[in-house]
């Protein structure tokens, strides 16, 4: 081993340690900022020592890529609105995936042009990277489009079968590469299959399942990097890629538990149907009480404990700053305000927490589901803002419901519930919500942001 490769190996060990410490730091609020900085330092070390690699003969193309990438990355990261965070994370996942495909593609060409016989490990790992990386890329782009609502959800009969066939074909082609390890046609075919599979795999998955999809794509982007490491014989790629792959899987699992569904169910079964659910007219007819901002302000004036339960509707209406204003005036009035956050509220894990943090609501006010549920009975007023299925009591009460067994926020146990919503339309599960017709529920129909602004104004005029 020469001096340069010793330096590289030493740098890789340092980087691997920094990545582990960084991830560990990111999993605790107190150490998260430092954790992120450690991860970034690890990356800097890894890239710096790699630049000393003897194989690198020319630096200008390299510099071009680095400068361009850094400029675009900085622009995206500083411009994005917090409501756009799920899209950005989806996009970054996809870029990592396609970068791995390109790296393996370049070294595949290199091996082929040198006329050397690739090892079995290289061939299989290149095929795996091609498939996983391409799925990550196109799947992430579809997720990006769905989150921006430029792409709708649509499934067609047999789409899940098609996905199974595509995956099987990808694996079969990968294995067949063992017989023709330098076949450009085969590797390109694998990448194309991966791209199609990413599209057809993500497109039928509905909006509320997005947190699972994003977490899974996160995991896949790590696995693609890890597979690249197998192909290149690069220890750091294997270690860092697997760490991310594992952390993405843990998050995926957390999301699935929060929805009482298995990953296989999210990916391979049709979205829950309303077949067994009660008819909307039976649930709502004559029982829904609507209210207005003035009435809600009066209720809030006498409340000593208010819980706010946000859902995706908060993000759509960009209502987080209005909610902050409401929180401040209530607190000045001597009222305790807490936020009940369902683990899958929003479109990515932790989505609500980020939005509320942006609006400068302290994270100690954001209470997890298990912690807030026992306290609803002592809550004077709960405001449900843009959430539906995660507060639907049938999940708890009706074993035949499509969402039966999903953990929910027990908002119906608070003294009064105000639901801010545009209409009585069902949530993602497609079933009516008896909460809206409950005796202690008042419906405030309208745009989420507008409604909260109106309440704040009405409160000031009391």
């Amino acid at each position: 081993m020469d001096a340069a490769s010793n330096l590289i190996q030493a740098g890789y060990i340092v980087a691997a340690v920094l990545f582990v410490l960084g991830l560990k730091g990111l999993s605790k609020p107190r150490t998260a900022v430092r954790g992120n900085a450690l991860g970034a330092t690890g990356m800097l070390v890894a890239v710096a020592v790699t630049l000393t690699d003897n194989k690198i003969l020319s630096y200008w193309q390299l510099a071009l890529g680095l400068v361009l990438g850094a400029a675009i990355g900085t622009l995206l990261a500083t411009r994005v609105q917090m409501t756009g965070m799920p899209e950005l994370v989806a996009l970054f996942n996809g870029l990592g995936g396609i970068a791995s495909v390109l790296v393996v593609g370049a070294s595949f060409l290199e091996v082929r042009d040198l006329g050397s016989e690739p090892t079995t490990t290289f061939t299989l790992a290149a095929a795996a990277t091609g498939l996983i990386g391409a799925v990550t890329f196109s799947g992430s782009l579809i997720a990006f489009g769905k989150l921006r609502e430029t792409i709708g959800s649509f499934g067609f009969a047999g789409v899940r079968v098609l996905n199974g066939l595509l995956f099987g074909a990808g694996v079969a082609l990968g294995l067949s590469m063992l017989g023709a390890p330098t076949s450009l046609v085969l590797i390109v075919a694998i990448v194309v299959i991966g791209l199609v599979l990413g599209v057809s795999g993500v497109i039928p998955i509905g909006g509320a399942d997005m947190p699972v999809v994003i977490a899974l794509l996160n995991s896949l982007s790590g696995l693609a990097a890890s597979a690249t490491g197998f192909a290149l014989g690069n220890s750091l790629l294997i270690i860092a890629g697997s760490l991310v792959g594992a952390s993405g899987l843990v998050l995926t699992q957390i999301m699935c538990v929060a929805m009482n569904r298995t990953l296989a169910h999210v990916l391979f079964s049709e979205a829950p149907t309303a077949a067994s659910a009660a008819d909307a007219d039976d649930v709502y007819a004559g029982k829904v009480t609507s209210t207005n901002a003035d009435e809600v302000a009066l209720l809030l004036d006498t409340a000593t404990r208010v819980a706010i339960v946000p859902g995706y509707g908060l993000a759509v209406a960009q209502a987080q700053h209005a909610v902050r204003d409401l929180t401040r005036v209530l607190e000045q009035n001597g009222c305790e305000v807490v936020f009940g956050i369902h683990p899958v509220a929003g479109r990515m894990p932790g989505h609500m927490n980020v939005l509320l943090a942006e609006a400068e609501i302290g994270y100690e006010q954001l209470v997890e589901m298990d912690a807030i549920n026992p306290t609803f009975a002592q809550t004077d007023l709960t405001i449900v803002l843009g959430a539906n299925d995660v507060v639907n009591p049938v999940a708890r009460d009706d074993p035949d419901s499509p969402i039966a067994g999903m953990p929910i926020l027990d908002v119906d146990k608070s003294r009064t519930v105000v639901v801010i919503k545009r209409s009585l339309s069902p949530g993602f599960a497609g079933i009516p919500n008896p909460l809206f017709a409950a005796d202690n529920t008042l419906m405030l129909f309208g745009d989420g942001k507008r409604a909260v602004v109106d309440i704040v104004q009405a409160f000031a005029e009391l």
């Binding site: 900022v33 992120n36 690890g42 890529g65 994005v80 994370v89 690249t228 220890s235 760490l243 843990v250």
Partner: protein, 95 residues
């Protein structure tokens, strides 16, 4: 590196990743995801070698493309994570 050694690293790193991440509070799910996503941009180091190795023109430009995309992933990922986390922490200081 032998396949067996690579596999050993893979298996150990997966276990380590699971151990390190379990019990992360929901507040940190988004930053954890974007931060770990930035780490998965590690494929950048493979890209750097491909882009600079002066093999065929096509291989070089695939490498340059990979460097660009991976750098967007890495730089953007760490920056945006830092931005999110600083929103959490400035609030804490003010209290």
């Amino acid at each position: 590196m032998t396949f067996l050694l690579a596999l050993t690293l893979f298996v150990l790193a997966v276990f380590l990743g699971v151990e390190v991440i379990t019990k992360v509070p929901p507040t940190l799910h988004t930053p954890l995801m974007s931060g770990s996503n930035a780490i998965s941009g590690i494929t950048l180091i493979g890209a750097v070698v491909s882009a600079g190795a002066e093999q065929t023109t096509l291989a070089t430009w695939l490498g340059v493309g990979a460097v660009t995309l991976a750098t967007v992933n890495v730089v953007g990922g760490f920056l945006v994570t830092n931005r999110m986390l600083s929103m959490f922490s400035t609030k804490k200081k003010r209290r």
